[in-house]
């Protein structure tokens, strides 16, 4: 497993642990109410699990197992995937912080959620640009 996939998968594992923790707090509070503020974690729960966990896990796996580009095992332009990794996780953090901070700083959080949207768009674009060339039919390289 390449280093970059290890980093993406481990980050995804961190987000699933945090996302489920938030989800559990929201669900527990739904069944046995003890702190109404916890409902504000619901949106963070969704962003952490759908983007931070699912999308990042799929991207990390794809970077690992998609066909290589040449007999030396090159995976192509890794800088695009690094950019995607940084943008995706920046987006996750910004989106997750939005609801809990919205009441305290509404102007700032409007900018944060807009920035999260831009991060998500660029993350998807950079990853797709990297992966496109690696989606090919089976082939064997001369040894």
């Amino acid at each position: 497993m390449p280093r970059l996939s290890q980093i993406m998968l481990r980050t995804a594992l961190v987000w699933i642990a945090v996302g489920y923790t938030f989800g559990a707090l929201v669900l527990y509070n739904k069944g046995v109410p003890f702190w109404p503020w916890l409902w504000l974690l619901r949106s963070a729960h969704v962003h952490l699990l759908l983007v931070g966990w699912l999308v990042q896990f799929a991207a990390g796996m794809a970077f690992w197992i998609l066909p290589r580009l040449d007999p030396h095992g090159s995976r192509g332009n890794e800088r695009l995937v690094w950019a995607s990794y940084i943008l995706l996780n920046s987006g996750v953090i910004l989106a997750a912080l939005h609801d809990p901070l919205a009441a305290a700083a509404p102007a700032l959080t409007s900018l944060m959620i807009a920035a999260a949207g831009v991060c998500y768009m660029l993350a998807a674009l950079t990853f797709a640009l990297h992966a496109w060339r690696r989606v090919v039919s089976f082939r064997t390289f001369p040894r």
Partner: protein, 150 residues
């Protein structure tokens, strides 16, 4: 594919079918207005799909195809995997049953609280179990040394 991965993936397939049945019923109700009670199935539907199908499928496939931990114990302590399976599924079932009951009649909140604890424990244990297997290509030491071969 080892037994544990097969159990995870087959259970995930069952949830896929059940989730779409529940989701289909929800859509039927949106179109035909069968019963006001069916609206309470929306969150159970989301979680049957995302926890029961997607997350469980990923857990099963990761346990199957991630690099082995060691030659002697390629999947580490399999008891952790069985704990994840039991806690995740019991937690999900408690939610899927408890959430509509709570919405319709009240008094079933304890099922949601128990479900929350079971599901979060399942995921923490999954992360602990799979973390050491997120690594590069394993380089196992040969069992015999070159001098022994001679």
């Amino acid at each position: 594919m080892h037994t544990q991965a097969r159990v995870f993936i087959r259970t995930a397939l069952v949830y896929l079918v059940v989730a779409f049945m529940v989701g289909g019923l929800y859509l039927l109700n949106q179109g035909l207005n069968l019963s006001d009670k069916i609206g309470a199935l929306l969150y159970p539907y989301y979680h049957l799909l995302m926890v029961g199908w997607v997350t469980q499928l990923i857990c099963g496939v990761a346990m199957w195809m991630f690099p082995p931990l060691t030659r002697e114990r390629p999947r580490g302590d399999e008891r952790l995997g069985w704990f994840v399976y039991a806690a995740l599924n019991l937690g999900l079932l408690l939610r899927v049953i408890g959430e509509p009951l709570q919405a319709w009649y009240g008094g079933w909140g304890w099922m949601l609280a128990a479900s929350a604890i079971l599901q979060v424990l399942a995921i923490w244990v999954f992360v602990i179990a799979i973390w050491p297997r997120v690594k590069g290509k394993p380089i196992f030491k040969p069992k015999t040394t070159p001098s022994e071969v001679k």
